[in-house]
């Protein structure tokens, strides 16, 4: 534990309302005790030199897979939390496609108990449907009371319009969003990658963009019908962005998130890497035009949040033929360096806008209070910069798994440290 700490010489970045302030930040007993010029303090106080660094409210990744219970060989709450800390995240929301799935209150509480030892705030997202089977809605009120922040059958869509309608109606009474995995699965029964010129050349079964667009369109109309809050998980298509943009213009309660890898890679990566299974995920890496549209959607506010869909799989599961490999890649450790490279350096987003999409935006969607950089507030913050150029190495991973396509990738901007729940952790130290 590090109850007391002085962060010396940093720049505070408050995302909303947006302000910056060069200031020392003193933490006493896990609470922000002073902001401003803090004079020399007693010798026992740990001091972190934050000069040249930014300090923002703690980041949140609203879409990760911690794999516990059931798939502890891929990741656990403990190892996933270490990955989060390495990436600069103080909070994560974890998806319920575990075994058993997070479809009853006891399983949700189990996950929260497993997170008690880590400074990372672990916020379970519970199932929409019992057994995550897509038939009947789960006990959402009890799940909420057990700590669930939202509902999703992620990994699979809510299959029928009827179930989605009832889920949106029921959850609206609980003030929690339904997060849908947007794929009309009958359009890609055996799809392995984005359907386009690259899949045509490689002979891999395609997942058409329309598979996602059809589902987003369906759910937007159901949000209009019910008034329930709809959150579009890992949006990946240009048309999907346009649908969400119009839904927002209609004033519908629709939000969206985008994954860092969908902003970084295209379907060309499957070919370039010679069918590397770390280019295989749901939704698939899309075309360059889709990537451009996602960036536009971020810039104009259509897309609210940036997430990673951190999806660990063991090496023996991924080191197989492309068609046999499970979908998904890691994301927590590489998120900020990719955001810097793809969004901030090229001017798609300012640093403050990017930080907003990692702090205020996900918490607003999940009805959580964002941490404040204010005297008297609990200290929950991330220390980082947006300019360090570095190369991501396998040694930088803290997940239990290694399934990332970003080994040896160039990064711009680096998370340096996290303070949360009375603990100070330098990124990559743990």
């Amino acid at each position: 534990m590090t109850p007391h700490l002085l962060l010396r010489g940093g720049t505070l970045l408050r995302p909303r309302p947006q302000t910056t302030q060069d200031a020392d930040l003193l933490i006493r007993d896990g609470t922000i005790a002073a902001i401003g010029d803090v004079p020399d303090v007693d010798d026992d106080l740990p001091v972190y030199d934050a000069s040249g660094m930014l300090i923002s409210p703690g980041w949140m990744d609203m879409h990760v897979h911690l794999r516990e219970p059931g798939y502890e060989h891929k990741e656990t709450v403990a190892t996933g939390s270490r990955a989060a800390l390495a990436g600069g995240f103080t909070d994560v929301a974890c998806m319920p496609n575990t075994d058993p799935p997070l479809h009853t209150r006891d399983v949700v509480e189990f996950v929260r108990e497993r997170a008690e030892d880590t400074p990372v705030g672990v916020h379970p997202i519970a199932c929409v449907s019992k057994e995550r089977a897509g038939n009947e809605i789960a006990e959402m009120a009890d799940l909420r009371d057990g700590g669930a922040v939202a509902f999703s059958d992620d990994g699979a869509p809510v299959p029928t319009a009827e179930l989605m309608r009832r889920a949106l109606e029921y959850s609206s009474m609980l003030d929690r969003p339904i997060i849908n995995h947007m794929e009309e699965e009958t359009l890609n029964p055996s799809g392995q990658m984005h359907e386009g010129a690259v899949s045509a050349r490689l002979g891999l079964d395609g997942i058409p963009a329309a598979s996602e667009d059809v589902m987003i369109a369906r759910d937007i109309e159901l949000a209009a019908l019910t008034g329930g809050a709809l959150h579009v998980a890992h949006i990946s298509t240009a048309r999907g962005v346009e649908l969400v943009r119009r839904a927002k213009a209609r004033g519908l309660p629709v939000t969206a998130e985008v994954c860092t890898h969908h902003l970084t890679l295209t379907d060309a990566a499957v070919e370039r890497t010679g069918f590397d299974t770390n280019t295989k995920m749901h939704p698939p890496l899309r075309s360059a035009a889709d990537v451009d549209a996602l960036k536009e959607g971020l810039a104009d506010g259509t897309i609210d949040a940036i997430c990673t869909d951190h999806a660990p799989h063991a090496s023996y599961e991924k080191q197989v033929e492309f068609a046999h490999a499970p979908f998904g890649i890691l994301g927590l450790e590489t998120a900020w360096g990719l955001i810097g490279r793809e969004l901030i350096e090229p001017g798609v987003l300012s640093v403050a806008e990017a930080v907003r999409k990692l702090t205020v935006a996900p918490r607003r969607i999940l009805r959580l209070d964002a941490p404040q950089l204010a005297e008297g507030a609990p200290a929950r913050l991330t220390v980082f910069d947006a300019s360090t150029e570095w190369t991501f190495m396998e040694d930088d991973l803290r997940s239990k798994s290694e399934n990332t396509p970003f080994t040896d990738a160039e990064m711009v901007g680096r998370p340096w440290a996290v303070y949360s729940d009375g603990q100070f952790v330098e990124c990559g130290a743990a």
């Binding site: 010129a197 045509a200 002979g203 891999l204 010679g274 069918f275 068609a323």
Partner: protein, 322 residues
């Protein structure tokens, strides 16, 4: 070590810039021509009374077939034998694959037995590329799902070459289920690299989206348009399970829309017919077309052994210094 003949190309070992034969996407025209020239010379070996040369003595070739295949497997085995290589083979039913061993482990075990070349047939696109990453053996792709079948395409091109003057003036149409055809994709790569013009023809449900952006081809859903000005028509086998998947309504309708008949041969008096086999007689081609003098299907089969000898000869590591 005796080269099959003393002609020029074989005096230039290392003229292939590739270690493996995974697909033809990065093979250049001079490499393809070198493979064809070498195969042509091996064809002459095959016409001799003693059809074996000692070239690959001491080299071991393992065939891993994870999908049924008669002709390709036989063709590779014959080719390796005629070069005096040792051969072992493993097919899905007899291998430990059914016991749940991964492709990676199967390959590493084969490699531990000091196998120099692995010939892989696998239903999953990219399996040979994956294999090449996890072993030190040379990998020859004998067909990976719908992705590539480079030796089949090369033998097709070899067959074409004996009937034409130049690839630059050649127009080839490939007709059938393009989406699921590794033969079509590899033929397109070989032919377009050599300068030929390729048209892909089939029902819209069997033409991949964005195919014209993906490869240097023209696509059409009209057989007449595909045969107009075409020198060689290659019909592809229709898999019956595609009907169950809803990609075409019936073999009857397929034949009426895309089947090549004697009438087509009458209307196109110089048209040659190819088919990678096995032919569904009466569906892709009528009996009269299969057995027609302008059908060059059987010479495709003979060229298969020669071409695979060439691929092994040019890619297998040599043991002569050992």
């Amino acid at each position: 070590m005796a080269a099959p003949t003393s002609s020029a190309p074989l005096d230039r070992p290392g003229a292939l810039h590739h270690r493996h034969l995974l697909d033809l996407s990065t093979y250049e025209a001079d490499e393809i021509r070198y493979l064809l020239d070498t195969a042509q010379e091996f064809r002459e070996v095959l016409d001799r009374p003693i059809r074996q040369v000692p070239t690959l003595q001491g080299t071991s070739v393992a065939s891993l077939f994870f999908e049924p295949s008669t002709r390709t497997k036989l063709s590779f085995t014959l080719a390796a034998g005629r070069l005096s290589a040792e051969t072992v083979s493993l097919s899905k039913s007899s291998s430990s694959v059914t016991k749940g061993e991964t492709l990676k482990d199967t390959a590493r075990n084969v490699e531990a037995m000091q196998v120099d070349v692995v010939v892989l047939r696998h239903p999953s696109p990219g399996a040979p590329h994956f294999l090449a990453r996890c072993t030190d053996s040379v990998v020859l792709n004998a067909g990976d799902g719908a992705h590539a079948h480079p030796t089949q395409a090369l033998l097709d091109v070899l067959t074409m070459r004996t009937h034409i003057d130049s690839f630059e003036d050649l127009s080839v149409s490939v007709i059938g289920d393009i989406t699921h055809s590794r033969v079509a994709r590899s033929n397109v790569q070989a032919l377009t690299t050599l300068g030929a013009t390729v048209t892909l023809c089939g029902p819209e449900t069997m033409l991949p989206v964005e195919m014209e952006a993906a490869m240097d081809v023209r696509t059409t859903t009209r057989l007449d348009a595909a045969l107009d000005g075409c020198d060689i028509a290659m019909a592809l086998r229709i898999q019956m399970e595609r009907q169950d998947a809803g990609l075409f309504p019936s073999t009857r309708e397929y034949h009426r829309q895309f089947g090549i008949t004697a009438d087509h041969l009458r209307r196109h008096p110089d048209l040659l017919i190819m088919h990678p086999g096995p032919v569904n007689r009466g569906i892709e081609l009528t009996d009269a077309v299969v057995d027609h003098e302008r059908s060059i299907i059987l010479s495709q089969v003979t060229n298969g052994v020669a071409l695979r000898m060439a691929a092994l000869y040019l890619l297998a590591p040599r043991r002569e210094d050992a």
